[in-house]
């Protein structure tokens, strides 16, 4: 029996298609990394955003109630420590309310919220997280910081944060740890600062 030899064999077509697809996928993966790194350079910790976080830090550290008997920053530290110690907080952070809608769950409102709202609106801030500075967000403990509904870009930023210590004994050890602010801006930029006591 004679076969028609004029066209391609199925195997030939499959081999060529596979080769072409492999080349294109490899190129796409390599170049998408370049694009992602390019975007990351301009979206993470820009100097302007770091000053914004510094201003937020200054505000919360100086925030007091009207008769000066309570300090928001001290309360915030206690809430974070107590919640984690009592295991009532499934996440290793507390959140600072960016508007004047009161405290609820693990979201806390500053005393002088009207003034704070003006600053938050000026810098176009979406979320402010308060956590420990020595947490290694790249390992499983990151899950303790992750909240439901968090978008993947914010997750990528959090995973890119380096802990304040490289000492393995101090890593993820919340006792005697210092604190960190993580801020998400409305335009998709992010910044974080260690709070130096």
């Amino acid at each position: 029996m004679k076969f028609n030899k004029k066209g391609f064999m199925l195997v030939e077509t499959l081999v060529v298609t596979t080769l072409v697809s492999t080349i294109l996928v490899t190129l796409y993966v390599q170049f998408s990394n370049i694009i992602n790194n390019f975007n990351r350079t301009f979206k993470y910790n820009s100097s302007d955003n770091l000053y914004a976080v510094y201003n937020i830090e200054n505000f919360i550290r100086n925030d007091k109630n009207t008769d000066n008997t309570e300090q928001f920053y001290i309360n915030l530290q206690k809430e974070l420590d107590t919640a984690i110690a009592n295991k009532t907080n499934p996440y290793h952070y507390v959140e600072i309310n960016t508007s004047c809608t009161g405290s609820s769950g693990n979201v806390y409102q500053v005393f002088q919220c009207t003034n704070f709202s003006k600053i938050v609106n000026f810098y176009e801030i979406e979320r402010i997280l308060f956590t420990y500075s020595n947490v290694n967000f790249q390992d499983v403990d990151y899950q303790k910081l992750k909240s439901p509904g968090e978008d993947s870009n914010f997750e990528k930023f959090i995973k890119s944060i380096h802990p304040s210590t490289t000492n393995t004994d101090d890593l993820n050890n919340v006792e005697n740890a210092t604190y960190r602010l993580i801020v998400k801006f409305k335009d998709g930029e992010y910044a974080t600062l260690n709070i130096i006591e």
């Binding site: 030899k5 004029k6 066209g7 391609f8 060529v16 072409v20 080349i23 294109l24 190129l27 170049f31 370049i34 694009i35 390019f38 301009f42 820009s46 100097s47 302007d48 000053y51 914004a52 510094y54 201003n55 200054n58 505000f59 100086n62 925030d63 002088q112 009207t114 003034n115 704070f116 003006k118 600053i119 000026f122 810098y123 335009d187």
Partner: protein, 156 residues
């Protein structure tokens, strides 16, 4: 009988079409990389300028003597050139000027020239409840995002 050693016309057409697809993708990647490179050069320049101006204004405003801004006045207001004078309770004053035609921003004794074609948007210098807010939006036609400066003196 005819010899069968050469390619058939179908083989040549299919191979040519496949090659064209690969070349097309490669060209798109080259163009994309060229754009990334060009944008990177401009964006880096804008970010360096942004950092320098931001550092100059923020580090000055965060100094103890400039904690309490008392008034903001616009002392020069022409079409392209505008100046604001900010006064503080301690008697210090600071002058912030910008020129939209020359693309320059000056703060006190320092002047910064932005990249050509960058656009200085609607600048605002406001005093609100003891807080001073300075917003200088800077954009570039081919780039997304704002490379502007935001500085604030907050009171609580």
């Amino acid at each position: 009988m005819k010899k069968k050693n050469g390619f058939t016309i179908v083989e040549v057409i299919v191979a040519f079409a496949l090659t064209m697809i690969v070349v097309l993708f490669l060209f798109q990647i080259i163009i994309m990389l060229k754009n990334v490179y060009n944008n990177n050069v401009v964006a880096s320049d804008l970010v360096v300028k942004q950092s320098n101006i931001s550092y100059m204004i923020n580090s000055d405003l965060l100094r103890g003597q400039l904690n309490f801004p008392t008034s903001v006045s616009q002392n020069v207001n022409t079409t392209n050139y505008k100046c604001y004078t900010i006064s503080f309770a301690t008697g210090f004053t600071r002058e912030l000027c910008y020129d939209t035609s020359e693309n320059t921003i000056s703060y006190n004794d320092y002047e910064f020239k932005l990249v050509d074609k960058s656009v200085i948007g609607s600048v605002s210098v406001n005093l609100d409840g003891g807080n001073l807010f300075i917003n200088i939006p800077i954009t570039y036609p081919d780039l997304d995002g704002n490379y502007g400066i935001k500085a604030a003196v907050t009171k609580n």
